[in-house]
């Protein structure tokens, strides 16, 4: 099955990157997703940001806790399918009230044609809420700056655990032919 990636260069990954920089984020862990391609590239190109590629999303939870223990702000980039891998690990964040910020590119969401993505995509908000996380959803590019700024404040000043959900409406659904 051929999947055509509908992404051309977009502004919103640069908006997120700029705000992460301004917010002092210096560690970025990720499991790659095509929706995060530009943001991962921005972070990898920045000598002041340590990017770490993970083998599973849950490993980003421990990394974020360890970074904060060491005085460094971090973020985790993943696809919605990775959210399910993180659930028990989020005990670390909730039990110790670690600030935590993750950006989740959604699948199984607006316009999804791969039905395998639907179960986890539709479960993202309820399972993250169940683990004490606050979800902020971005549907439109023009809401990105305000939402990311809010997420950074809530996480690192308010000691909250925040997931910014990047809707498939924003990221662009993969078209399968």
């Amino acid at each position: 099955m051929a999947a055509e990636n509908q992404q051309s260069a977009k502004q919103w990954p640069t908006t997120i990157y700029n705000l992460l920089k301004q917010g002092g984020v210096r560690q970025v862990a990720y499991v790659p997703d095509s929706g995060h391609k530009q943001l991962i590239q921005h972070c990898t190109d920045d000598p002041d940001i340590r990017t770490v590629s993970l083998t599973t999303e849950q490993d980003g939870i421990g990394m974020a806790a360890g970074a904060w223990l060491g005085g460094v702000k971090s973020t985790l980039l993943m696809q919605s399918s990775g959210v399910g891998n993180c659930i028990n690990a989020l005990s670390l964040i909730e039990n110790c009230r670690f600030p935590f910020l993750t950006f989740v590119t959604m699948r199984g969401d607006f316009g999804e044609s791969n039905n395998w993505q639907i179960p986890m995509g539709q479960a993202v908000e309820p399972v993250l809420s169940a683990m004490g996380m606050i979800c902020l959803r971005v549907e439109r590019e023009e809401d990105m700056e305000e939402t990311v700024a809010a997420a950074l404040r809530m996480a690192f000043l308010g000691s909250q655990s925040i997931a910014v959900l990047l809707s498939q409406r924003l990221v662009g659904a993969k078209i399968f032919k």
Partner: protein, 195 residues
């Protein structure tokens, strides 16, 4: 139940952390957190996990990357390590010079009724760490090997991994502070000056 290992876990961890200086530790749920706390309970340079199984090595990696001038040692059980073998691959790829992992390997799930783990059935964590690109790896079975390996955990160029083959004795349990918010706060206050 006797798998022929002779080292006592509490004594072995104590040997490794002798003269620890500014070393920071992260330890996994169950036995390893007790082994570290048995030396100095509720110590400000230790961050013991009580859950989130599989996250101790990654927590240590995040800390090691954030604090490159400080030595960071993760103490983890064999069950914990087997749950997060991918973390060894990530540490091997990142190659943090200041990180060491000590697997306290009794070849059993001591917390849950002493069921055997894969390390007692031929799976070699030291071999996995070597294959993942760790700079220095030792399997420690005797007191003499322990005394040689202990300084490498404290100062050897990382990432270092020690597989510590210990008996199934778990050692006495004792009261310690299990408040994660407090643990985070005292660790950061000691390291950074503010919680």
């Amino acid at each position: 139940m006797d798998q022929g290992n002779t080292l006592d876990r509490r004594d072995a961890v104590k040997t490794i952390l002798a003269d620890r200086g500014s070393i920071l530790t992260v330890s996994s749920l169950g036995g390893p957190s007790y082994d570290v706390a048995a030396i100095n309970v509720d110590f400000e340079q230790d961050f013991p996990l009580g859950g989130a199984m599989g996250q101790a090595v990654m927590t240590a990696l995040g800390l090691a990357l954030a604090q490159p001038e400080r030595r960071v040692v993760a103490f983890v059980g064999d069950g914990e390590m087997l749950m997060s073998l991918g973390a060894l691959a990530t540490v091997g790829a990142e190659k943090p010079q200041n990180l060491a992992v000590v697997v306290i390997d009794n070849e059993h799930y001591a917390e849950t009724g002493m069921q055997r783990t894969h390390t007692g059935r031929g799976v070699d964590i030291a071999g996995i760490a070597t294959a993942c690109g760790f700079g220095e790896v030792h399997t420690v079975r005797t007191q003499a090997e322990l005394e040689k390996a202990a300084p490498r955990v404290r100062t050897g160029p990382g990432p270092v991994l020690i597989s510590l083959k210990v008996t199934t004795e778990i050692g006495p349990l004792f009261a310690r502070n299990r408040d994660g918010v407090w643990q985070k706060g005292q660790f950061r206050k000691a390291l950074l000056g503010s919680p």
